[in-house]
């Protein structure tokens, strides 16, 4: 599948990563599935609920996930991805990411080096959980057609 983001989504994820630096920032991406495209519509920043190791760990607990999911559902959206920042690390999934990953979801990772957001990449867990596969991301301005 290809993940379709608007520039504002990428910017919002970068800003969140910068704001929470040097802690890890995290949140969800709500959107719709259109054929083999996951189309992002809304970025939902969430609080990192880890009470320790904030610099290299993030956690979205089931309650927070559920609330966000319910909110997105009201707009006809579903959770299509998760984003988090890697402070002073490249935007590639760690072994810990893989251990804890859900299938199908897009895992967006933004690198935040010395407080400045840089590369954003998206990854999807392979079906057999053996690794992450980088997912193509298209960043495009959506044309809203009023009918």
């Amino acid at each position: 599948m290809t993940l379709i983001l608007e520039p504002r989504h990428a910017a919002a994820i970068g800003r969140h990563g910068e704001a929470d630096y040097p802690a890890e920032a995290c949140g969800l991406v709500g959107g719709t599935v259109e054929g083999d495209r996951k189309v992002a519509v809304q970025v939902v920043p969430l609080a990192n609920q880890r009470s320790d190791s904030l610099r290299n760990r993030y956690l979205i607990d089931p309650q927070a996930f559920r609330r966000a999911e319910a909110q997105l559902a009201r707009d006809g959206l579903e959770v299509i991805g998760v984003y988090h920042s890697h402070p002073d690390h490249p935007p590639a999934p760690s072994a810990f990411d893989q251990e804890n990953a859900w299938p199908w979801l897009s895992y967006l990772i933004v690198a935040v080096a010395r407080g400045r957001a840089g590369d954003l990449k998206s990854w999807v867990l392979s079906d057999d959980r053996s690794g992450f596969v980088e997912e193509p991301v298209t960043i495009e301005e959506r044309k809203v057609v009023w009918q």
Binding site: C26, N56, Y58, L59, P62, V82, S94, N100, W102, P103
Partner: protein, 475 residues
């Protein structure tokens, strides 16, 4: 009627795209097993290799977490709704680089490893941790020793002093054999003897506004064992700016304080003490004395809090100030609130970079004493020429008992203002104390009272013992 299982989006591709599945079962364990049996590829995402539910898979029976019910044994009945709710976790690769433990380390830390709250994972966290100790003195000694013994992988030490014999009464990381050597060398040797697995990084410098951020940035946690206000505010502000926890301790005579200042989760030192006390009001250990065991207790509390932060166990001293009274053997606790107007950690900070902390603490603004001081040798010569010269010892009577200069008159600083009438304004006066600080205050009092021919002995009785009369003991 069957039980309904709600399937979260990421798992729907494995259940033919459905958002719910109907199954028959009597408890949660049975239900999940049947679900996995019917949709084989789902199994690996729900269960780990050992058959247990993966930690990020949360199962709710009618909105209640099965962890709060009977886990897999939680009964289900027809009509119930079971939700599988993701929790999402992850992080950077730092923690995977957490070093493994050697056989030697496993043996060395065995009493930690068998503690459920530490274990192998916790011990590896300790090994991966980087802790900076500011000051290798009274507080830094026990903190460094316990942290090294506990297996903290990297200890940074900042100090620029040399070991003095008067340090040994409380600074237990140093020894008689290292008197006269830099404290950093002495501490490093002792740590490496205690635990060669610890990497010691030394910074032989005074912590300043110029170097503090660069030094502290490289560490996870700072333990502040400083004995002066400018450095304490500097450490605090640097930790707030860098988002690091600052494990604070301080001691005076028979009393100590400890807290964890971590601005992300609670108050900082400035929330507690917005302004430093006027210079000279709070005496240092050198001036006021300290019971040697006291820094052992407070420094050990700092080590304990540091380890708790690394392990992520228990309740850290964030937002609490512990006050310890050794004479009563009493611990009290004050709740600390974050100051919404805090100039450094509040929502509208006015301090956004490091400042001049000496000036902030009123140091350097003291009057200049050029010409008002006299050296020990000069005093000896003048005193021989002019036996009428009056030498006033402004120390306390218990210090006078330790040692005194023959011929000096004892008038403790506190009594001086009320005993001015005992003094003859026509005589030359020299004030002296232990190291030369209190005698300058005495000089000011005398000058203000109209005594014009007053000087202060530079270096105090200590300089006298070194340069004039070696028969006197130093303290």
């Amino acid at each position: 009627m069957a039980v309904t299982v709600l399937i979260p989006t990421p798992l729907r591709p494995y259940v033919d795209g459905r958002d719910a599945v109907q199954l028959e079962a009597t408890n949660v364990g049975e239900l999940l097993d049947r679900l996995a049996a019917r949709y084989e590829p789902l199994k690996g995402h729900l269960f780990a290799d050992d058959g247990r539910l993966r930690s990020f898979v949360n199962v709710y029976v009618n909105d209640r977490d099965i962890r709060q019910l009977s886990q897999r044994q939680t009964p289900v009945k027809p009509g119930d709704t079971i939700s599988i709710i993701p929790s999402i976790a992850g992080g950077t690769a730092v923690a995977e680089q957490r070093p493994a433990l050697s056989h030697e380390e496993i043996l060395r830390y065995s009493r930690h490893l068998i503690l459920p709250d530490v274990g192998v994972e916790g011990q590896r966290k300790l090994k991966a941790a980087r802790v900076l100790l500011v000051g290798a003195g009274g507080l830094g000694s026990p903190a460094a020793l316990y942290l090294a013994a506990a297996g903290v992988g990297t200890l940074g030490l900042v100090d620029f002093d040399v070991v003095d014999k008067t340090n040994l009464q409380r600074q237990i990381i140093h020894g008689t054999s290292t008197v006269g050597r830099p404290k950093l060398d002495s501490a490093k040797e002792r740590i490496e003897d205690l635990n060669p697995n610890v990497r010691v990084e030394t910074f032989e410098t005074r912590l300043t506004s110029e170097n503090a951020l660069d030094i502290i940035r490289e560490f996870d946690i700072v333990a502040d064992g400083t004995d002066n206000f400018p450095t304490r505010y500097l450490v605090n502000d640097a930790c707030v700016l860098l988002g690091k926890p600052n494990v604070y301790g301080s001691i005076f005579r028979f009393e100590g304080q400890a807290s964890v200042f971590y601005a992300k989760e609670g108050p900082c030192y400035r929330c507690l003490y917005a302004e430093p006390p006027p210079p000279g009001l709070v005496p240092s250990c050198a001036e006021g004395g300290v019971l040697g065991v006291l820094p052992g207790i407070i420094g050990s509390i700092q080590a304990m809090e540091t380890i708790k932060l690394i392990l992520g166990v228990g309740e850290p001293l964030i937002g609490r100030l512990v006050l310890f009274d050794a004479l009563k053997l009493e611990f009290r606790e004050l709740k600390l609130e974050k100051d919404p107007d805090c100039p450094v950690c509040g929502p509208h900070p006015t301090v956004t970079e490091l400042i001049d902390y000496e000036a902030f603490c009123g140091i350097g603004a003291e009057p200049s004493y050029d010409g008002a001081e006299i050296t020990a040798q000069e005093l000896r010569q003048e005193w021989e020429r002019n036996p009428d010269l009056l030498v006033i010892d402004v120390r306390e009577p218990h210090e006078y008992e330790i040692t005194h200069i023959d011929g000096a008159v004892l008038i403790p600083l506190g009594e001086l203002p009320s005993r001015l009438n005992e003094l003859d304004g026509h005589r030359e006066i020299v004030t002296h104390c232990h190291h030369g600080a209190r005698s300058l205050k005495a000089l000011e009092i005398l000058k203000a009272a109209g005594f014009s021919k007053v000087r202060s002995l530079r270096g105090g009785i200590d300089a006298w013992a070194v340069n004039v009369d070696p028969s006197l003991p130093r303290y």
